[in-house]
Symmetry: C2
């Protein structure tokens, strides 16, 4: 990709940070523009011009076109650069996408949502829907039980790892239990090293 990418993102949002990490890993030049979800900065008319849904992240490509949806954005960045984060094998590529769809359906809506309400909006446990804790724990258990190698697809890091690590690494802020999941913790450290993610980045 020639030219600079502009990433509109919230510094404590895993969905936004995964875009930054993939751009950096892929050697793509980018500018990061801070927007705060909690301060309502994704709900302004100006922001809705970029993304009618009022969600971060949004990226603007060098040719002026914008794209939403974190996992579609990281696919685009990896696909249009010389990154090796998308497997060449068709089945492995589909498995990677399966993890990424799983993340947005079964992981993020519980883990990211409970963490946002608990650690950022400062809701008490009693104010939180118990279904969020249950669904998130189920997702984390699935993850702990399915590692077949150092990374989700085996020997090499892929977009699946960065998509899922984004909220798994801060799941404790949502009241989820990482201490009892040693394989998940070791995988988080490996992915943080592979993508040069400081342990403290993006914490609430």
């Amino acid at each position: 990709m020639t030219g600079r990418l502009t990433i509109y993102g919230d510094r404590i949002s895993g969905n936004c940070l995964k875009v930054k990490w993939v751009a950096r890993h892929a050697g793509v030049n980018f500018d990061w523009i801070d927007v705060s979800v909690a301060m309502g900065e994704t709900q302004t008319d100006e922001f809705r011009q970029l993304n009618p849904f009022g969600q971060a992240p949004v990226v603007v490509f060098p040719d002026g076109r914008s794209l939403a949806q974190s996992n579609a954005i990281i696919f685009a960045i990896a696909d249009m650069s010389s990154s090796r984060l998308i497997p060449l094998d068709g089945f492995a590529r589909a498995e990677m996408l399966a993890w990424m769809f799983w993340e947005q359906y079964s992981h993020e809506p519980a883990i990211a949502v409970r963490r946002y309400r608990k650690a950022i909006l400062r809701r008490t446990d009693a104010e939180l829907d118990p279904a969020l804790l249950e669904k998130g724990e189920r997702a984390l258990t699935h993850l702990e039980q399915t590692f077949r190698g150092p990374f989700l697809l085996g020997e090499e890091a892929s977009l699946a790892d960065v998509a899922i690590v984004a909220y798994t690494r801060v799941a404790d802020e949502g009241g989820f239990d990482l201490a009892s999941r040693p394989r998940t913790r070791a995988w988080i450290s490996r992915v943080e090293r592979a993508f040069d993610i400081p342990e403290t980045e993006g914490r609430a």
Copy 2:
């Protein structure tokens, strides 16, 4: 793709039917094995061997490997066949994925879930979470307002159309209003024609 694909699917599930429609459109030979979600057939030990999550659809490829997550499956089938359902242009391919991630995050969890509870489990409106109706209506409004051509990406049908039509075409069974959305209704008919979907297929 050489050899036959086996699709384990529920006949009234949009997530399952989209796999069948894409396989047929891509000219891939397949066997369809009926599993009933409502009858608990996705929760048996045998089924969980195929998909630890106990969800349909699951497909088994000719080499014996299985894959879950409807939108990853249709990507794999289109990707491994000579189908033209995935755009060649990198940006258009990412836009297609953005729609597919949007479907699984903002459309299916409201529209498919409310339709399942109302039309299949026969819950009354009073028993249903009002947030489902609100979220689903918001998704349908977004859809109605964003068509830029005959199909979601423009002139050509893509996986985005089939992914999103799957539950949009039966949204009325979930109590959602299609009558007031003429562009959506015209698009549903176009996608049904493009994929040879009988109007009555998959209705509850």
